[in-house]
Amino acid sequence: MEVLRVENLYKLFPLKKRNLKVHAVSGIDFSIKSNETLGMVGESGCGKTTVGRCVVRLIEPTSGKIIFLGEDVTKLPEKKFRKFRPKAQIVFQEPYDALNPRKVVRQIIQAPLISEKRLNKKKSLERVVEVLKMVELTEKYLNKYPIQLTQGEQQRVGIARAISTKPKLIILDEPTSLLDIRFRAETIVLLKRLQKETGVSYLFISHDLVVISQLSHRISVMYLGRIVEEGSCDLVFNNPMHPYTKALFAATLFPDPDQKKPEFILKGEVPSPINLPDDRCNLAPRCPLAESYCSKGLPKLEELEPNHFVACFKAKSSSKKT
């Protein structure tokens, strides 16, 4: 069953001066099935976080459709959208900043239960203890303030709050990038187990390919507001086709001294996303394979092998030859 389908999503942020706009997300499509993890990778500034926040409508998309559990929720008024809120939750990047420092763990996890699920104090407390157990914390933690917890425990409270309302979809916005290695691994193991137990779907946003590979069933690679490659985890890892994905893999350092190092380096740094042209490949100026036609048209995502979509003219022409 499809939990989420996003069609042609745009998000432009206007700048105060001169009618300029930041093109954070420029027309992306993807879908997530139930019990599935879609990993979204890309460098900082490519719009991954904006996508995640648009999906739960923390920010309103400029245009496009978000179909959640079979219903188009993009234009729903807030009152009607509220019934969807407990079904789509989000876990934030900074474990400490995402928790109210003046409330104890019990109040933090109770808040969505009381406001969204309309549970009374006693029932909600039972549920709090239950979810704390699910994230391997005990009742001892009920009356602790976030500052008394370690990083890993803070992140687990964040996850507990997200799962407390029994959501169908959780947006994981770089939940591990600020954690130390030990907590990072613990969090990944925990998330995997929770998915097995509850059948929840994840949209996992990260820049770390090693972490993404551990958790995701499918991967989509973003560059400057567009998805440039999408496919099942194994296909994308074993046969990256888009030049940007290749560069990303070449740059990722795996903990393996015998790693093959394909030299594939893009020129320069990521350009500014202000007033990006909407009709051509954004990677063309940096791409070592670019031809003259690359900067003239916008490549569409096309299925170049089963379950593997790539948006690149060069990849398309070379896959046809072979």
Partner: protein, 331 residues
Amino acid sequence: MSNEILTVENLNTYSPGSIEGKPIKILDKINLVINEEDILGLVGETGSGKTVLINSIGRNLRSPLYVDAKKLFFYKDSEDINLMTKNQDDMRLIWGRGIGFIPPNAKDILNPILTVGQQFANIVIAHSKLSKNEARDKVIESFRDVNMPAPERNFDSYPHTLSGGMAQRVIISIALFLSPKLLLADEPTMGLDVTIQKQVLDILYKLIKKIKSSVILATRDMGIVANYCSKVGVLCNGQLVEFSDKREFFNNYKHPYSKYLLEASFSSHGKLIERDLKLFKSKEVVEMKTDVGCRFANRCYLAKKECQLINPPEVSIGLNHYIRCHRSEDL
């Protein structure tokens, strides 16, 4: 041996805050040897003492921490320098040409009210007899070596206008300008994106090979160690628990803490672990004692009573491969 660069024997670092009247030992009996052109990767979690060790070796510790060592020898131009006997004024002659630093967070280290070119030129002038204009040319030349985009224009940029990758390039070119024999790099690529991290590390690697210096590189990223280092040292709460050549380490790591670290970075015998992660279930965490015993004992799956009570001995388990563990026979 003639090609040794640094010998550290029995180095301890203390903090005067006390437990039962005794100062707290932050680093415990560190022994290591660095040869010419070695790149030692120091790995460990946050708080395992990587930065303190680097600053102890460079004699750059901030008070109130203090260090004592049986041996802390630095060899430069076939001259033995006992770093322990040097005071801050003597060290200033060694820092720069002898020992160079690359700190983390390049942007915080650069002076925010001077242009990056100007602060670099000041260093150039202090160490040579060049005029201002000659120093400017030298700086721009060094910027070119680290692939700084538009070096002439960026000479007059202020640090806050640079991206993280560019600021890191400035720091690297400053640290390598005097061709130090030993470079102490503390998480040189923290907070950079993967593609920029690779660019920066490649340049750093190329330049240190050119000037033939040795490096101690503190990092949390096993990927960096596997790809750039020649030796590995694993730090656990201030004890150097495993020390070995890189290849030997990744093929034959032994210490429980090394296993734990590698599994936490999703690697086993150098290969990525596929989807079935079996992290060590840590036991109920007991308060760590800093005066006696193995500092991993409270989380180790092999720990016995003696591990808590007696300092673990250093055991050689192969050519240039040492671990500190009571249970080395059972590993």
